[in-house]
């Protein structure tokens, strides 16, 4: 069902960007408590901007294309709301994600606890090695009021075999590095374990809706 629906809408979507030899779809989800800076990170990823924001309502969907030397990745980013009232819908977004960013605010200890809860919830869902999970300590610019030491974040990530980075959506520090790292990792792990959905340059409608539907279906069910 889900796969079919995605398929049809995907097939008709316009390609905004020049497509290289291979355009791959990457589903990425941003998780974490409210106010840690998920939307700000997403805005940096997609527009390299920083603006005042209000809490996300439900979920926001954004896309960004990242070019690697041999392929192009189209990140489909689900920026979820950290507020508790929306938690019941969050599984929709991390299910089948190729990358999951669990974000906390280095100046708020409580957000780090929440990040750990998110990691636990994710563990129930993902098959290790299939989803690239990154622990992100955001608001690195607020190191004066830091409540979560760098080592603490690092150790947690290490113990669970996750990637770890500290970023600042405000200053932009480490943000593009984060996205590039994910791009490489996703690409790498997907070539090892499973294929990303390829988005051929021409006649994507026909191709995707026709012969490729089984591939897409398989892909969408991964991790769920």
């Amino acid at each position: 069902m889900m796969a079919e629906r995605r398929l049809s809408s995907l097939g008709e979507s316009p390609l905004e960007v020049e497509v290289g030899p291979r355009l791959l779809r990457v589903k990425m989800v941003l998780l974490g408590g409210s106010g840690v800076g998920k939307s700000s990170l997403a805005l940096r990823f997609c527009k390299d901007e920083f603006k005042a924001s209000t809490p996300t309502v439900g979920c926001a969907y954004l896309t960004q294309v990242v070019c690697l030397h041999d392929s192009t990745l189209r990140f489909e980013i689900w920026d979820t709301a950290g507020e508790e009232k929306y938690h019941s819908v969050t599984p929709l977004y991390y299910r089948g994600a190729h990358a999951a960013l669990v974000v906390y605010d280095i100046s708020k200890k409580e957000s780090f606890m929440r990040a750990q809860l998110w990691l636990k919830e994710l563990e129930k869902q993902y098959i290790p090695g299939e989803t690239v999970v990154v622990l992100v300590g955001n608001k690195a610019d607020l190191s004066d009021t830091r409540q979560v030491p760098l080592q603490v974040g690092y150790r947690l990530a290490e113990s669970k075999g996750l990637l770890f980075i500290e970023t600042s959506a405000k200053s932009g520090e480490q943000v593009s590095e984060l996205l590039m790292t994910i791009a490489h990792r996703v690409k790498q792990s997907s070539s090892e374990v499973r294929g990303l959905i390829e988005w051929p340059e021409a006649e994507c409608v026909g191709v995707l809706q026709g012969e490729r539907s089984s591939l897409l279906g398989a892909c969408c069910s991964v991790g769920s």
């Binding site: 049809s8 309502v57 439900g58 926001a60 969907y61 896309t63 920026d79 507020e83 009232k85 819908v89």
Partner: protein, 516 residues
């Protein structure tokens, strides 16, 4: 700035002796339950232009839709939203008479005298983890006390013993499992305040559904609701602001972006064509103005639900970047379940926001595609350009009407549930004056819709302006004149204004509502 504060004070109230509770029960059973849409008989567009102006019957007044109404605007029995449309026939009607009404006292926004409010035992609890970024105000501070209005949301089995309220009006709205308490020192009537509490109640329901709300309190009677409401403070803030400023919430009506009817029709049909199975409503907004609304056959949207959607969109930056996808309950439609709304601006910096309301939470990509198809069609038929141009003039100066003494007016067509109003004129442009004008209208409104002694018309002379209000079975009209005019003059302008509205109705209203 007149700040507003609401505080979630839960499980911290003192026990209440039942006899001290002020009666403000919403379950006013004497008002008949009236549901469903009003569908005026089919008429041709050309018939209406010949129809005379005053004494209009519902469905033929300027601004009435041609086929069917988009909104349910009958009030359900539980509402005190004071339309009084049903009551009108039952109760003796008093005419505004000879204009002998005394000048309306204009309240001072902030009373000088130190009014003390004893709400002992209500202390701020610690902000829950995961709270939003809005700092809660210290309720012991002077600043907090100086707010004109406070709204408390109480829950559980708590009862309040007493709220000592000198110079304050205290209004209770019981909506199980919540009790909303409004403490105000404005001169608003109890009914007005109750209406505001009702909006806040529905705002909460729109985020949680009544089912979920009831459920959490069933599981845990002393559940701290702030956990679920964290982050929605800005929604309530904005809603209270709208209640102070937006005539639409007062009149139970919505206003439209002025648009040539051919352009609007093109937009509506493009939206209609971009449909999906799960779609129930497609709504295009320009700021807080409706451009068009397309709905599933037989489904009608309640103006209150639409205002809640407007409020959601207007108070969040979250739909500016990317596409929003959120569960939303439309409480007047169904308090039990969530719809799923795809919300996005047509362009990042644009005022135009498209809301696609669906029944399927997994239908995101389909709806995203609907938006794409809608835009494509709009561009192809060059309606997008026309729409952009219309956005340059989202309102009109009152001078267009050609009545020199007229400063401002609000006209509501009852059958379409739409209203029109010119720009706020210069003397009222500052925030305080604008709110004062709204309070004057609010006052007139509450007089016209008085539960036992409603009026058909009312004329008031005040220091700064003269006011006239008029209600017929087809429309409601509120006018504000310069203080120099006379009553006779004011009355004589009504016809002229109605003729003007009739002439402009194609542009100011949605005459051709569409369904999928």
């Amino acid at each position: 700035m007149e700040g507003k504060l609401y505080a979630w004070i839960i499980e911290r109230c003192l026990p209440l002796k039942p006899d001290t509770v002020m009666e403000a029960d919403v379950h006013n059973n004497s008002v008949p339950l009236e549901n469903g849409s009003l569908a005026p008989v089919d008429r041709l567009r050309r018939d209406r232009s010949d129809s005379p102006t005053p004494g209009l019957v519902e469905g033929t007044e300027p601004g009435a839709g041609l086929d069917s109404a988009m909104f349910v605007h009958a009030q359900s029995f539980e509402d005190l939203t004071a339309d009084g449309e049903q009551e009108e026939e039952e109760v003796q009607v008093q005419e505004g008479g000879d204009g002998s009404e005394r000048g309306l006292e204009v309240e001072k926004p902030r009373a000088e005298g130190e009014e003390r409010e004893e709400t002992q035992g209500q202390q701020e609890e610690e902000v829950q983890p995961g709270g939003g970024r809005v700092k809660e105000e210290d309720i012991n501070s002077e600043g907090w006390r100086s707010h004109r209005k406070h709204v408390f949301v109480l829950s559980g089995k708590n009862i309040i013993r007493s709220i000592h309220a000198e110079g304050y009006k205290v209004v209770f709205l019981r909506k199980s499992p919540l009790v909303l308490v409004g403490v105000s020192r404005t001169r608003q009537s109890e009914r007005e305040l109750t209406r505001e509490l009702l909006y806040i109640y529905y705002q909460i329901i729109s985020l949680l559904t009544l089912t979920q709300l009831t459920h959490v309190f069933q599981l845990k009677q002393n559940y701290d609701l702030r956990r679920l409401l964290a982050g929605s403070e800005h929604l309530t803030d904005n809603l209270l602001r709208l209640l102070d400023r937006d005539p639409g919430l007062l009149l139970s009506a919505v206003t439209c972006l002025p648009l040539p009817s051919s352009t609007r029709d093109t937009i509506s049909s493009s939206l209609q064509a971009a449909k999906a199975k799960s779609l129930v409503f497609s709504i295009l907004l320009a700021g807080s103005r409706l451009v068009t609304l397309v709905r599933k056959k037989d489904q009608v949207l309640h103006h209150m639900d639409l205002h809640l959607l407007f409020n959601l969109v207007g108070s969040s930056s979250s739909f500016r970047e990317g596409e929003g996808w959120t569960p939303i309950c439309l409480p007047k439609f169904n308090t039990a379940g969530f719809f799923h709304a795809h919300i996005s601006y047509l362009e990042p910096a644009s005022e135009l926001c498209l809301i696609l309301v669906s029944t399927d939470r997994e239908d995101f990509f389909n709806l995203s595609d609907c938006k794409r198809r809608f835009l494509e069609r709009l561009r192809r038929r060059s309606a997008y350009q026309a729409l952009q141009e219309a956005l340059q003039a989202p309102s009109y100066p009152v001078a267009q009407v050609g009545i020199p003494e007229l400063r401002h007016f609000v006209y509501k067509s009852k059958s379409s549930g739409l209203y029109t109003s010119p720009e706020i004129p210069i003397p009222y442009q500052c925030e305080e004056e604008q709110e004062r004008l709204m309070r004057l209208y609010q006052y007139l409104h509450s007089r016209m819709h008085h539960p036992t002694r409603p009026l058909r018309s009312i004329y008031r002379c005040a220091d700064k302006e003269n006011l006239l209000a008029l209600v017929t079975s087809g429309f409601e009209l509120y006018l504000c004149f310069s203080p120099l005019g006379t009553k006779a003059l004011a009355v004589s302008t009504i016809n002229k204004l109605l003729k003007w509205i009739r002439k402009e109705e194609d542009r100011l209203f949605i005459l051709n509502p569409q369904t999928y």
